[in-house]
């Protein structure tokens, strides 16, 4: 708990807020990137090097790019004509606030009694690799399958209409 944490938390939350509030879709996507980067830095601060870099690689390198590609492919880079918020925005806001209230209450109530590890965990990338192909090899294979299926699925979903029309 120090200045760095507060700074990173502020960056992340500001990025998230901007992503939700900004008018322009591309700005939203870029703000999301800020949030992703802030989260990656938070991971690094939590001594999770591998997860932090994987976060940057996957989210900034792939997901953010996917989002901006989609925005441009759906002509979302022009400003929307109507409002940016849905008609039921108030209900959504109340639900979100309620969820946050419950979560915060739960965190603050329950976290007190938990014993906490403060020493930096001595986990190397080597350990992560061993765990991935050892204990977690089945999930790894399934994720591989899922990613393949998702890639093919995404291609088919995005291509479908044109192919049929031909």
């Amino acid at each position: 708990m120090n200045v760095v944490f507060y700074l990173l938390a502020a960056i992340t939350l500001a990025g998230g807020l901007a992503a939700v509030l900004l008018k322009h879709l591309v700005h939203c996507a870029l703000a999301t990137t800020v949030a992703f980067a802030g989260l990656a830095l938070l991971f690094l601060q939590l001594d999770a090097q591998f997860a932090g870099f994987a976060q940057i690689l996957v989210y900034i390198g792939a997901v953010a790019i996917l989002i901006v590609f989609t925005i441009l492919l759906t002509r979302g880079s022009e400003l929307p004509k109507g409002g940016v918020f849905s008609r039921t925005w108030f209900v959504g806001l109340v639900i979100a606030a309620g969820v946050f209230a419950v979560l915060a209450w739960a965190v603050l109530e329950s976290v007190r009694g938990i014993p906490q590890q403060t020493a930096v965990p001595a986990v190397t990338v080597h350990d992560i690799g061993n765990a991935l192909v050892g204990r977690y090899v089945l999930p790894l294979e399934i994720v591989g399958l899922l990613l393949t299926a998702a890639t093919i699925g995404a291609v088919i979903v995005a291509m479908h209409e044109k192919e049929r029309r031909q």
Binding site: L30, F53, L57, G61, I65, V68
Partner: protein, 396 residues
């Protein structure tokens, strides 16, 4: 190898200098001061190298086309980059009226910062690495993919169709070749058993006889290196993969609307990306800072690293001087239908190599598989229409 203390000192001269400089500070400041000093050195050395490279590139390209190249400013035109730099600095900074000013401003900055970060994990000599991260390779790639977003920001914020087209091409191309780049590096990681770049160099710095154990001198390493080089060229948007800035159709691609200092930053970013990706290739396949022959180890390690990097840069320039630009569909087909399958195959071959154990058998088997598949795939690719005249699928 017994080397004299003089050469050992020369090898470690930067470390010694750094420690001497830092020694003036109180002990508690020293680690931070070390890092600051190293960062400053990286920030000074590579732009300097960039300046030299620009003039050597122009001269080299000229020579390849039987021209002289720049030779006016200073002796042999060596001061050309200074003149260019002054020009870029004092030029008017034009931001298009309808551009998105904030994003337009942030794009070159974020690009250069991300590229500079890549140098942090490169071992540039024995004990000369800024941070020896356990997941160094992953860090490098995570930084190099962040440049894609900067390119997109630049192209989109300019509100210019050429910029946008260039940026979309650049992003599509970089994503496609990023996969190849990563997968070709993974074969090295499989053999070295580490993502830390200094460990990978250390694994290559032994010798059998006088020959080094560089990974390029293995069948899978050679194949991986070729794929890596192709992907690196595409990743840095260099010719023949310079479609994003293909001036014959897109003016200048995503930096069409940039001028003055911001354009200089893009230019710097492009060359720094070249240096960093050459540095990574050197580290992964060419033994990093280790000497090419065992009796040459007395020459300081950093000289080897930088000469290997500059050699790679020369090959970049050589290719630029030789090859014509690809077409967008050829580029994508090449990435997904040739490079990616071949790199995946290379991974399998690497696994064979690892599990077949020492001996000549693995050399024969791996070489045979890789060569046969290369020839076969080459035949198939060249016979099919992928590299032939363009077919329009959707055009009326």
């Amino acid at each position: 190898m017994a080397t004299s203390p003089f050469f050992t000192d020369l090898d470690q001269i930067f470390i010694i200098l750094r420690d001497w400089l830092v020694g003036f500070l109180p002990a508690s400041w020293r680690p931070a001061a070390c890092v600051v000093l190293e960062v400053i050195i990286i920030i000074c050395v590579f732009p300097g190298l960039f300046a030299l490279t620009t003039v050597f590139e122009r001269k080299g390209l000229g020579r390849m086309q039987n021209r002289l190249g720049p030779n006016r400013v200073g002796p042999y035109g060596l001061f050309q980059p200074i003149a260019d730099g002054i020009k870029a600095l004092i030029k008017e900074d034009i931001v298009p009226f309808s551009a998105n000013a904030v994003v337009h401003f942030l794009a070159p900055l974020s690009l250069v910062v991300a590229v500079f970060m890549e140098f942090a994990v490169l071992p540039m000599g024995r004990n000369m690495v800024l941070v020896d991260l356990d997941a160094g390779l992953l860090f490098f790639f995570s930084m190099s993919v962040s440049t894609e977003l900067s390119v997109f920001m630049a192209g989109w914020s300019s509100r210019n169709k050429y910029s946008l087209l260039g940026a979309m091409r650049a992003v599509a191309q970089m994503i496609s070749y990023e996969v190849v780049l990563l997968l070709s590096s993974v074969s090295v990681v499989m053999i070295a058993g580490s993502l830390s770049l200094s460990t990978i160099v250390a694994a290559q710095s032994s010798y059998s006889g006088i020959f080094p154990h560089w990974y390029i001198f293995t069948p899978w390493g050679l194949a991986g290196f070729v794929m890596y080089a192709i992907a690196a060229t595409a990743e840095t948007n260099r010719s023949p993969f310079d479609l994003p800035e293909g001036e014959s159709e897109l003016v200048a691609g995503y930096h069409t609307e940039y001028s003055g200092f911001k354009f200089a930053l893009f230019f710097l970013g492009e060359y720094l990306a070249m240096f960093s990706i050459s540095g990574l290739g050197t580290t992964l396949f060419l033994g990093g800072w280790s000497a090419p022959l065992s009796f040459l180890t007395f020459i300081p390690s950093w000289i080897w690293f930088f000469s290997k990097v500059m050699l790679s840069i020369f090959v970049f320039i050589w290719m630029r001087g030789t090859l014509p630009r690809l077409r967008q569909d050829q580029l994508m087909n090449f990435a997904w239908k040739f490079c990616l399958p071949y790199t995946l195959l290379n991974l399998i071959v690497t696994a064979f190599w690892h599990f077949m154990g020492e001996g000549w058998m693995r050399w024969v088997v791996c070489t045979a598989i890789l060569a046969a598949i290369y020839v076969f795939m080459g035949r198939v690719e060249m016979r099919s229409e992928h590299f032939g005249p363009r077919r329009y699928r959707y055009a009326e």
